[in-house]
């Protein structure tokens, strides 16, 4: 059976200035909620730019994700803790909420701002290698 060709999107399909959807707005609001409960020293490194576009969202989500993931190495007592390629359990009991940041009844704190300002520091995400999802800048 010959390989089936899967065409990719054209360059003009990419639009990092697209306004965020309700989905991304919810994701950011949830991260804002988590951020609001961080100790001040951890919040210092989190960019505070208004989030209107997908690019704005990505530049905020990346450092917040890095910070949350860092908890995995900072709190190895977690039942899920493992830095290896697969998760090997170290305890049978579920992690009590106290080991992480406590959730609340609402994410109403820290709503997305309505205007866009200048760019913030670039994130340091890894780049997955896909079929052809990434295009070199012209």
């Amino acid at each position: 059976m010959d390989p089936i060709h899967v065409p990719g999107p054209p360059k003009e399909a990419f639009n990092k200035n697209r306004r965020v959807s309700d989905l991304i707005r919810a994701q950011v609001n949830h991260l804002k909620h988590v951020e609001s409960r961080l100790p001040p020293n951890l919040r210092q490194g989190i960019p505070q730019h208004p989030i209107v576009t997908e690019d704005d969202a990505a530049r905020y989500i990346a450092p917040m994700t890095r910070l949350l993931r860092a908890q995995a190495t900072a709190a190895p007592q977690s039942a899920a803790a493992s830095s290896g390629p697969t998760l090997v359990p170290s305890a049978a009991a579920p992690v009590p909420a106290e080991q992480g940041l406590k959730p609340a009844a609402s994410a109403s704190q820290g709503k997305i701002a309505a205007r866009r300002k200048g760019p913030a520091k670039k994130s340091a995400t890894s780049k997955p290698s896909q079929l052809k999802p990434k295009r070199k800048k012209q």
């Binding site: 990419f14 639009n15 959730p103 995400t125 052809k132």
Partner: protein
């Protein structure tokens, strides 16, 4: 009870679930009915009335991008209109779903009559070679429904927890409730599992529950690809797509959203699905012992012709203040139908599965296979159908009989 003597089940070591975003079954796969009548797709005569009462027929003119902007409303009140055509319980306490409100719902967003008709558009198979190729080469589900007639996060909750704990919206806070997520269950039972988000800039949608409380459950999509390459795939993997267009952090290029959420280009999602498939398919150590489920979280407000059925109540109630309608919701009927495909060399080519599934079937299946008897689950998950029994061929399909994508 799963027949573990089946060679496909006996060999199974890994389950991989890829959950995409916001497309209905008919929109993506409905055209396949023309070549395989067993697939419950579109006859071409299905209609919805527009805001002037004129019937609008389905049309094979869906485009990869730009037709569904603004994003069609798929919050609870809008989906109620889409499913019941605008008939309220006050008008008819015994109202039945008729799937006649999709055009009206889309019209409500911009009052643009012509644009509202686009919600009836669907793709031809030639436009989606990966998704339709997988659907025809492996097993397609005729009746996989989203778990709630509502938006993304509460629906995805069913894939992780077997319930949304009474939530029908995007604010889902349920850490440390009475049921454990499938990942916590697996870890507690000594199994391996991981959620793979695309990258840190896209991250996970499970922010306030799993990501902040159990960050070590997560990896990036590159971690998934590396795990496949190095034969270190966990027993259960859940994959999320890229949710935003953003720059690669090293400035080398652009990373386009591949979630297929309107108005992201559908082709990027096609390539993402193909990449996940190829990573398993091209590794002879994984392909014979891995089952892949490609499924969409909800319909995204886009037309589907199959009325969602009733289901076992979830034990929770969302009050009218939460549903945004005059009525409470008892989690006793499913959401709109979505595409779902089961992939394995032990699946009969061209299988069409007619049993009813929903996202609670995911933790239900994974729990049944890797853990076995497990009682502390939601009522919905306990009765949800599981799907591994379709790995039922007596012999593995030859490599030459299974597609690859380029």
């Amino acid at each position: 009870m799963l027949d573990r003597t089946l060679p496909g089940i006996n060999n199974l070591k890994h389950i991989v679930v890829l959950m995409m975003e916001n497309r209905s079954f008919d929109h993506m796969l409905g055209a396949l009915h023309a070549t395989n009548p067993a697939i419950d797709g579109l006859a071409g005569s299905e209609t919805n009335p527009d805001s002037t009462g004129v019937p609008v027929a389905v049309s094979p003119t869906a485009e990869y991008q730009s037709q569904l902007d603004p994003d069609p409303d798929h919050h609870f009140p809008a989906v109620d209109l889409q499913i019941f055509g605008g008939v309220t319980t006050a008008q008819n306490p015994n109202r039945a779903p008729n799937m006649q409100g999709f055009v009206k719902s889309y019209f409500n967003q911009e009052a643009n009559l012509g644009h509202s008709h686009m919600i009836m558009n669907y793709f031809t198979p030639q436009m989606l070679p990966c998704l339709t190729g997988l659907a025809t080469e492996f097993a397609v589900f005729n009746q996989w429904f989203s778990s709630i007639p509502g938006p993304t996060l509460c629906n995805r909750a069913f894939a992780h927890w077997g319930t949304s704990f009474g939530q029908v919206s995007m604010d889902v806070f349920y850490w440390n409730k009475q049921y454990l997520s499938i990942y916590e269950r697996l870890v507690a039972a000594g199994n391996t599992t991981r959620l793979y988000y695309y990258d840190e800039a896209s991250s996970s949608l499970e922010v306030v529950n799993l990501l902040q409380n159990q960050p070590s459950l997560f990896g990036t999509f590159q971690d998934f690809l590396d795990a496949c390459k190095n034969n270190q795939l966990p027993q259960y993997s859940f994959i999320e797509p890229n949710y935003t267009d953003h720059d690669a952090p090293d400035g080398s290029g652009e990373l386009i959203a591949c979630d297929q959420h309107p108005d992201h280009d559908v082709r990027a999602g096609e390539q993402y699905i193909a990449t996940v498939y190829n990573a398993i398919r091209n590794n002879p150590n994984l392909w014979p012992n891995t089952a892949i489920l490609v499924v969409y979280d909800e319909h995204g407000g886009i037309f589907d012709h199959v009325p969602p059925p009733s289901c076992t109540p979830d034990g929770f109630v969302a009050q009218p203040s939460a549903t945004g309608t005059p009525d409470a919701f008892h989690f006793d009927r499913l959401g709109v139908r979505v595409p779902a495909i089961l992939i394995s060399p032990w699946v009969q080519r061209g299988s069409v599965i007619n049993d009813v599934f929903e996202h609670a079937s995911i933790p239900g299946t994974v729990t049944e296979y890797f853990i076995g008897q497990y009682d502390n689950r939601s009522p919905r998950e306990k009765v949800a159908n599981t799907f591994l029994q379709y790995l039922n061929l007596p012999a593995q399909r030859a490599d030459s009989d299974c597609p690859t994508f380029s």
